[in-house]
Structure formats: C-alpha cells, structure tokens
C-alpha cells in the first residue's frame, strides 16, 4: 500500500466500465469537496463564496448523475479510497487553497484549475494505449471538461478581480480554548 508508488496505483482502464468508474469517482470527490467548502465558507459568513461553492457542488453532482444514467448504474462504484496519481482526484479542490476572506474570483480560479486538470487527466487516457472504446469515451469526457473550462472562464470574465489587500483582516484571530 504505502510502499507502492503513486503511478502504480492507477492502472490504465481496460474497459469503458473501468474508465467510467474512474470518472465517476472523480466527480463524486469533487462534488463532496465543493459542498464541504461551501459549509466552511458558510460558517465563516462568506455567503457569496459559500453560494458559489454550493453551485459548483450541484454542477459536479449533475455530472456524477449523468455518468450513472449513461452507464445504467444504480449506485456508482466505491469512490471512497480511489487511488489517484495525484494526492486527490484531479477535479478536487485542495483544502489548503481556501481563505475565509476569499472572493468569487478566487473560487472560480480554483474551479478553472480543477476543470483544466480534469480535462488533462482524460486527455492522458485518450493518448494512452487503451482500447478504442475507452479512448473514445476519454475524448468525450475531455471535451466536456474543456467546455467547463470555457464556461468558467466566461464566468470569471464577469467577476471583478480582487483588490490588493483583499486578505487583510482588521481583527485578530478569535480562537482560544
């Protein structure tokens, strides 16, 4: 387990089923994380970004459901400890990227980064020695993710970039047990 290298963890999919299981796990992880980040932002009264993360969670949830429908699965495969090449799934936001004063711009940049990584992830499969039907599915997914990147970029264009000093807090942190 821990002794093995990351690359070995992720065998190339031998069938469309296997490939879609991987895509499904990616969407599940991404959706759950966005929902969790929405909660965090909510707790810290950053309603705007909380709403944005919640929306992203819904979008990823929809993708997850689309995969289920496409494959005719009732439940998806176990996504709990899916082994990624990267520390987490290619569409999952790193906990460490958050700031409680972050603005929609930052959140969308994170989403853009995620969608781009997802597209690249699928493109790598499409270029790898996999069966033709897998390659076709990978191309299709990659195309979708590219489309998401474009949508988010359009969205970003409508959002003002943050002023310098956006993360300055007039008040000291208020923790103390």
């Amino acid at each position: 387990m821990s002794g093995k290298s990351r690359v070995a963890r992720q065998a190339l999919p031998g069938s469309v089923e296997e490939f879609m299981a991987c895509a499904y796990a990616m969407e599940v992880e991404a959706a759950e994380r966005y929902a969790e980040l929405a909660d965090q932002m909510d707790t810290h009264h950053n309603r705007e970004v909380a709403g944005l993360f919640a929306k992203l969670a819904r979008i990823e949830g929809k993708h997850r459901d689309q995969i289920l429908a496409r494959m005719g699965w009732e439940h998806g495969p176990d996504a709990a400890v899916f082994r990624w090449e990267t520390p987490e799934g290619p569409e999952t936001t790193d906990y460490g990227e958050l700031h409680y004063l972050m603005q929609p711009y930052h959140a969308l940049r994170l989403a853009e980064h995620n969608e781009r990584r997802a597209a690249e992830f699928f493109e790598r499969f499409a270029a790898a020695p996999v069966p033709e039907d897998v390659r076709a599915a990978a191309r299709e997914m990659a195309e979708e993710e590219r489309e998401h990147v474009r949508l988010i970029q359009e969205w970003l264009a409508r959002v003002p970039p943050p002023e310098p000093g956006w993360d300055e807090d007039m008040d000291p942190p208020a923790v103390a047990d």
Binding site: M1, S2, Q40, P87, V175
Partner: protein
Amino acid sequence: MNETAVALAPAGYKSEVKPVWCPGCGDFGVVNALSKAFAKLALRPEDIAVVSGIGCSSRIPAYMSSYGFHGVHGRALAAGTGLKIARPDLTVVVTGGDGDGYSIGGNHFLHACRRNVDMTYVVMDNRVYGMTKGQPSPTTEPDWDSKLSPDGTGLREFQPMVIALASGANFVARGFTGDPNGLAEILVEAMRHPGFSFVEVLSPCVTFRPEQKEWKKLVQEDAFTPTADAKEAAGRLMHDTGFDLGVLYAGGRAPYAPRGPRAERPVEELERRFVL
C-alpha cells in the same frame, strides 16, 4: 478492531457539527481521512471513540459521528489509555496537536509509546499553537519569530518520530493533510496494526503559519519503506527530510495486556483476606 459488514459511506462518519476551523486549515483533511479510514474498515460508529485534548486540532471528536471525548489540554493519551484498557472492545483513536501532545502532554507520549496499548494516536503537527494564537510549539523551527518568543526560541525541534521509535511505539508513520487519501491508507494500517500506532500528520495552519502552504511542494510521497526492524527504521530517520511520508516502522511487539492470573470470582470472596 470492530470491522463489521455494515458498510457506511465516509460521510456517515462525520457529524452535523460544523468545524470552527479556518478555511484552509489542514485539520479538515484529517476529518476526511479518518472518515475514509473508518469506512474502509467498516467500523460501526458507536464502536469508535475519538479522544482528544485541547487545541484547534483537538476539536475533532465533535466532528465525527462516533463517540467522542474532548478532555483537558495534554491528557488525551491518558484518557484514551484508560478507555481502551477498560473497554478493549472499542476502537480508540487519540487525536490532538503538537503542543497538546509533545509539550504539555510530552510525558504521556513517551509512556503511551512504551505501554503499547492497542490504539492509534494522530498528531496534527502545524508547528505552532493555533488555538492560543500563534506561539511556538516543541516542533517549531528555532528562529520562528512570534510575540511571545521574539526572534524565535532558539531551541532545537522536538523529533516526534525519533522519540516514538525510541520509546517503543509499535507503528510509526507520517501523513499529510494535502493527501487525505494517502493519509486514510496510513490510518487504516495504523488502526489495523496491533499496539500503539503513532501517525504524525503534517497539517498546515493557514492562519499563523501561512508559509506552510508550501508543504505540498516539499512532501515526498511513499518516501519510507516500511520495516519491522527498529534499527533500520532508526537509520532511515537519520536522513529524514521531515517531509518524507509513509509508514516508517511496523513492529512486532505484543500490545499491552494486563498480566498475571485473572478471574471472575464473586466479590465477597475477597473478604477471606481479612477474616480471622
């Protein structure tokens, strides 16, 4: 170990209580990894007790759907030890921070390692006292400047893994909150391994140590090759970067068990010792 057929998704191990942690705090990754590990082991939440001391990281029990115990600063290992010895059927996970575990609770850390009670100790090391707003902890770099210790403490960092190994911990590993899946795998192994399992978790504090955001570039996945040979593990630690991840040591010491003959005789029989 209470592995059962009742499968719960990781989310089933999280409670409804919303963490008070700063967004970006590494400790979120531990909740994530712990719930994945519990799910992987198919534990029943009521058979798990998450025990902690005081600190940001020590708030974790309330965020899990298992039983929890949030005690006093530095004494989590003692509370967990008492619980596990009194209730060997439970899966006990002790959690906390580097200040809680290595400073005020340092003595308990040594003795928990040597006592080797079958439980898992997860230390969220952020090299700072988060909860009290940024004082140096035993693992803080000597020159880290702070209000309470201007220009740094000048003290050498405490070496948790060296101490754990030297004190007799039966399982020693390091994980990173930026990789909750990898951490979950380590936690699964730690909980499965008999005896006292120590997992040092690099868990950045975005508020008082924002520079720790860089940790994700420094960590070395699977840098350790697990060994059951303590000497080999000790040798490996001599060239540890502090960011080497994985299981360092999985030893074969028998876990703590009460010694001597035991029985379940009626209490009144004890009176014989007094009767003239």
